[in-house]
Each structure stands twice: as structure tokens, then as C-alpha cells.
Amino acid sequence: MDQELFDLITKAKRGDKSAFESLVERYKRHVYYQAVTMLNDTIEAEDVLQEAFIKAYFSLENLKSSYAFTSWLSRIVYNLCNDRIKKRDREKVVVSEWLDNKIENMGDSKLPIEQKQMQIDLYQAMKSLSPEHRSAIILREVHGYSYQDIAEIMGVPEGTVKSRIHHARLTLREELKKEG
């Protein structure tokens, strides 16, 4: 963690609103990526983005170490998304909006065809993962968290994280092979 970020977090912990706004600027992408990939729904992800930062604003003073800010914020996002997923399960709501749109819009992307196809396949394959497996692989591959951090964020043992990531990779590989 760079000194500037550490200072921002420390200031925000003391109640400095402009420091917190700078943190929102820094972490908006991080929070939104996590929410949209977990929920697969842009509207819900936007709600989570707002809820997560508001929650962080009010509970920041309880954060013991500034160094743990990133994983602490991810844990907030993870819990908020998980609550929504559980609610969906109870209400039996089916969502496959974001990944579908992403696949449709890939045609407009300026990437080389091979890379574009790989991304379409990857988005398609992601749909076959359960929310737990998708979260684990996203936290690892997109956010670059260690297994220990992911275990803390998801509130599960490190061994479970290890097996979820491995299982997610095997499923993605299988799906990619089908599509290939």
C-alpha cells in the first residue's frame, strides 16, 4: 500500500469527508466490478456500489488497521451481494442480464478477433459458475487477492477458497472446450 493511500484512509477514519471521496474515486471500479460480476445485474450492482460506500463511511472508524482497508471493503461488497443473492433464491428471481449484455456488446469492442472471441467465451462460461465459485475466481483473477484474503472476505476456510478456485477453473476450462 502506498503512503498516499495509507494517509487517505487514516484521514477518512478520522472523519475527513474529502479523503473519503478520494477513496470512492480510487475504489469505485474495484467495488463495481466485484458487485456486477457477483450479481450479474447492473442495476443491483449500482445499488450495491452506493450501499457499500455509505456503509463503509459509517463503519470506517471500526476498521482496526488502515492496511486492511481494501479487503475490508471487499468483504462489505461481498456480504451485500450475498444478501441479495439469497433474497433472489428465496424469491426465485432469475438474472442473467449483465453477462448476456456483455456478450452482445462485445461486437463493438476494438479488440483483435481472437482475443474478442476468448472474452465472449469466458463471459459465456462464467454463467455456468455458481455465485460462490464466481466470486472466488473474480476475487483472485480480477482483484488479485491472496487465498487468505479471499477466505477472510468470504468468511470461509482457506482450504474452501483453494477448492472453489480450482473447481471454478476446471468448470471454465470445460465450458471453454465445449464452445471452442
Binding site: 469527508k17 471500479r29 450492482a45 456500489l49 476468448m118 491472496s146
Partner: protein, 170 residues
């Protein structure tokens, strides 16, 4: 030959112990199946990074969020009413003490030391102490009560300092 496919994911993520890492690397030199799996996992890892770079952010939601944060209670800027109240309390107390001293000095000059507030308070306090000292165990009861009150005050102060004003905005 024992395959290492179950370790490959953790190997790619650099989450293996040194001993396991050596075993995996040695095995990959001899086993084409595990090597193929390793290469597939590596390719997928590289694609992930690019795949999520293209996600566009919901700028409107972020603007709304910034507005909401601005409307929330600001812990770093004290409530103007509180500031006014504290200032009024401080200056009120100082003025009262100064006024009392001024009246006392005027009384001492006009009627002599016997009629000053200090003398009156001293005699009243002496009288009260004399009456109360006649009650048995009063000292112990007062001391215990004082400690209890101090303890309760400290606890309440601690609770009060932990409170944070929450403003609900729609």
C-alpha cells in the same frame, strides 16, 4: 506417476509451499496431461485481466453517491449549534464567576469582611459539616456513592463518545 492437477490452480496463484512447488515443477516436465491443464489455466488467467478491463462504470450512480456522501453528517465539521452552546456555556461561566467576585469585593468594602460571601459560605459549610458528621457511617456511604457515580459517569461518557449522528437521506 501421481498427478498434480489438484495443485495446479494454487501453483498458478503462487499459493503453494516451497516443497509442493518443487514437486509440481518436476512433475510438469514429465506429464503432458498436467502440462496441458497448466497451460489452459494460465491462458484463462491472462484472459481474465483483459476481459474485465472493458467494463464501463455507472457514472450517474457514482454522481448520486457523491451527492449522498456530501449530504451525510460530517464528523470533521462540528455542528454550529453545539459550537454556539459550548461557547455560550464557557463565557457564561466565566462571566458569572467574575460577577460573583466583583459583588463579593464590593460587599467586603462596603460592610466589612464578615458580610462577604466567603464568610457566609464558610459558616454555612461549617454548619452543614457539623450536622452531617453526627450521622453514623455517612462518610463510608458518601464515598461509595461517589465512586459509583464517577464509574457510571465514565461509562456514560465512553458510550456517548462512541455515538455517531446518522442522517437518513432519501
Amino acid at each position: 506417476m501421481q498427478h498434480v492437477d489438484h495443485l495446479l490452480s494454487a501453483y498458478i496463484d503462487n499459493e503453494l509451499e516451497e516443497q509442493e512447488r518443487v514437486v509440481v515443477e518436476k512433475h510438469l516436465q514429465d506429464c503432458t496431461d498436467c502440462l496441458e491443464l497448466y497451460e489452459d489455466f494460465s491462458r484463462m488467467s491472462a484472459s481474465f485481466t483483459h476481459a474485465f478491463e472493458t467494463i464501463s462504470l455507472p457514472e450517474q450512480a457514482i454522481e448520486q453517491l457523491m451527492t449522498r456522501i456530501n449530504q451525510l453528517d460530517t464528523p470533521d465539521s462540528p455542528d454550529p449549534i453545539s459550537v454556539l452552546s459550548y461557547a455560550a456555556l464557557r463565557w457564561g461561566t466565566i462571566s458569572s464567576i467574575l460577577l460573583l467576585l466583583a459583588v463579593n469585593v464590593s460587599l467586603m468594602i462596603t460592610f466589612g469582611p464578615f458580610f462577604s460571601f466567603i464568610q457566609i459560605f464558610y459558616r454555612l459549610a461549617h454548619g452543614v459539616v457539623t450536622i452531617f458528621s453526627a450521622i453514623p457511617y455517612l462518610g463510608v456511604v458518601v464515598t461509595v456513592t461517589c465512586f459509583l457515580l464517577i464509574g457510571m459517569s465514565l461509562w456514560l461518557l465512553h458510550q456517548l463518545l462512541r455515538l455517531k449522528k446518522v442522517e437518513i437521506t432519501q
